[in-house]
């Protein structure tokens, strides 16, 4: 069956389409405002004439490319191209500012490739077991998962943990704007219809990161990446580096795959949780947020591993693990294939073809990714006045094109000032974004579980998965405080 998968992918036409699909995904992912799902949707019409397996392989290649491409703009422009590249911005951009943009992109490509390959292997080896296990994830576990994601805020803002916490709380509050998902009540909308859907974190992120950075650079009258990097050709990260950091690559890939499997979790949450875990387990947590290589690896390996993960429930149960998986589900149906247990029984080569597709697309990232990132990074050679203008205009288009809504542009504009002052006064924009992303999962998980448990708060501690994740969150949150306490004690001795 593996052989059949190889034959399917390496037929000349399919292979060419996989190369083109990966390139398409990388370009779309690198452009702010064009998400992975949009890249896949736009590719969908081109697959009408293909057979079922070929079309799914191509769409998966686009998905893999887009997840990696998002990191290019995150690293070079401080504007994540896709939501799942949020965590890459935390360390990727500081690396670029240090003149290590090429290395950051190289790490991102390697992390993405390794994450994709590992998730593909996990998908094939244990798809059925994992899919059934994912269904055990209910409100309590989602709440616990959000706590785990939030637990890294103390580490991200290790110099000012109190301010990082306040930033995350503001993010959580902003996430409550809009219609309450449980009771359907309007919250902080002031009767404005455009606020009913809540505040999307993409415009907030573009404003608070990219625009705020432009403001700061104008005031400091200096260049951004340009000042240090004259040419940004992605540095190829050798196998030696992967072997040296094998624990991080594997751990991040497993986290990404597992989170990807859970319906409605997705790449951005996978990347944030993996990032948090990398911070917790690092010997130098203070380096995170200031250009730590491990930060880029953790987030990129996880978000690409979520690709394989999200395909597990889609293929095995017919339940999409995320937006893109839902589009793939539509592609299956379009070709007369009904995903679910019968699909794998009737077409066993499908799973192996997808596995080979994921692996080939992941490997292609080294070649196509290097080419696309080199082309994309040419803008960093421009004088800063040009680069700032490009960042602003791309940000405007990115915010607008999310929902074709000018109000998102206003939101981006408003939050650009918050981002500027956050940076100026040592608050943590990253923690703030974490709060916005994880807020809905946290609140809905908490309230839904309380409703289910008849208002009993102990319910979070009686469910094994939830208990373990909560304990891990407490451990993760308190680690930096314990470390600094021990360090202070040692120096006083």
């Amino acid at each position: 069956m593996l052989l059949q998968g190889l034959i399917n992918v390496f037929s000349p036409m399919t292979f060419l389409l996989v190369v083109l699909g990966t390139a398409w995904g990388l370009i779309a992912g690198a452009l702010p405002g064009l998400s992975a799902s949009m890249a896949v949707i736009l590719m969908l019409p081109f697959t009408y004439g293909m057979d079922g397996i070929q079309s799914v392989i191509v769409l998966v290649a686009v998905y893999v490319g887009a997840m990696c491409g998002g990191s290019f703009s995150a690293i070079l422009l401080k504007t994540p191209g896709t939501p799942s590249a949020v965590a890459t911005t935390f360390d990727g951009y500081p690396m670029a500012m240090r003149g290590e943009a090429a290395k950051a992109i190289g790490l991102s490509i390697t992390g993405s490739a390794v994450g994709g390959i590992i998730s593909g292997l996990i998908m094939v080896s244990s798809a059925s077991i994992l899919a059934v296990w994912a269904l055990k994830f209910q409100s309590a576990e989602f709440f616990a998962l959000s706590l785990l994601g939030l637990s890294c805020i103390a580490s991200i803002g290790s110099k000012y943990p109190q301010k990082a916490l306040i930033s995350a709380l503001l993010g959580l509050l902003v996430s409550t704007v809009g219609l309450d998902a449980i009771a359907g009540q309007e919250r902080f909308t002031f009767g404005k219809y455009y606020l009913m859907n809540g505040i999307d974190y993409i415009p907030v992120m573009i404003g608070a990161y990219a625009f705020a950075e432009v403001y700061r650079n104008i005031l400091e009258n200096k260049g951004s990446v340009k000042g240090k990097a004259t040419s940004v050709k992605a540095e190829l990260i050798g196998l030696k580096h992967v072997i040296q950091h094998w624990k991080l690559y594997i751990k991040s890939s497993i986290i990404g795959t597992v989170i990807g499997i859970i319906p409605a979790a997705g790449g951005s949450i996978a990347a944030l949780i993996s990032y948090g875990e990398a911070v917790r387990s690092s010997k130098h947590p203070e380096e995170f947020g200031n250009g730590a290589e491990d930060g880029v690896i953790a987030s990129e390996a996880a978000n690409n591993a979520a690709v394989g993960g999200s395909l597990v429930p889609t293929l095995v149960l017919g339940i999409p693990g995320g937006n893109v998986a839902a589009i793939l589900l539509a592609a299956f149906t379009m070709h007369g294939l009904i995903p679910g247990p019968m699909l794998l029984k009737n077409q066993p080569d499908m799973l192996y073809s997808i596995l080979v597709g994921v692996i080939v697309a992941s490997l292609l990232l080294f070649i196509v990714g290097k080419f696309v990132s080199t082309q994309f990074s040419k803008i960093t050679k421009l004088p800063y006045s040009y680069m700032a203008t490009i960042i602003i205009v791309l940000g405007l288009v990115g915010a607008y094109s999310l929902k074709n809504n000018v109000y998102d542009v206003y939101i981006m504009f408003g939050f650009s000032f918050l981002g500027y002052f956050f940076e100026k006064f040592h608050y943590s924009t990253s923690s703030f974004i974490l709060g916005i992303v994880l807020g809905p999962i946290c609140e809905n998980g908490l309230r839904k579980q309380l409703i289910l448990a008849g208002g009993d708060w102990t319910t979070f501690f009686t469910r094994p998965i939830s208990l373990v994740v909560i304990l891990l969150s407490i451990f993760s949150f308190s680690t930096p405080f314990i470390r600094s306490f021990l360090k202070a004690r040692r120096t006083s001795c």
Binding site: Q162, I166, T176, S385, T389, V409
Partner: protein
Amino acid sequence: MELIFDVFLICVFAAFFFLSGNISEVTIANDNLGSRGFPRMIAIVAIVLLAFSIAFRIRLLFKQRRSEQQSNEAKIGIAKNLYMRLFAIILLLFFYIVFLKQLGFVLETLLFIYLCLVIMGERNHLRSALFSVAFTALLVIIFGRVFFIALPRGIGFLREVSYYLF
């Protein structure tokens, strides 16, 4: 300045706290927190943390008042023209967003890029104009034609023209 920002933040959290009182509650069995519970909880924790932060800062301010004042004055003196430049960019950005629907993406972006470059100190007007045209064209091709994003078309004549472009 930091103190003012902290006070601003505490006001934001307080506003969230008080506004959450206006959220109408629907009775759902065992929904102990309700629609207002979560935001209120968050706002209270944040206000307490900020109150501590402000108290700490005031104490610190009394100690370092003179030296900080001097350094701030120096900073403002150096960056005055840069503040003006930033203010002009922000103003331009504001007008870009406000008139986006009326003037449409193409005309606005053309003007915005050119003016932005001029404000940022680009002396070569021809180069700015050419860059403005080239980059706008690139954006229209990528977002409008390839990715079919419904970019704002503007009104009246501008709308008619935009259909020829994307």
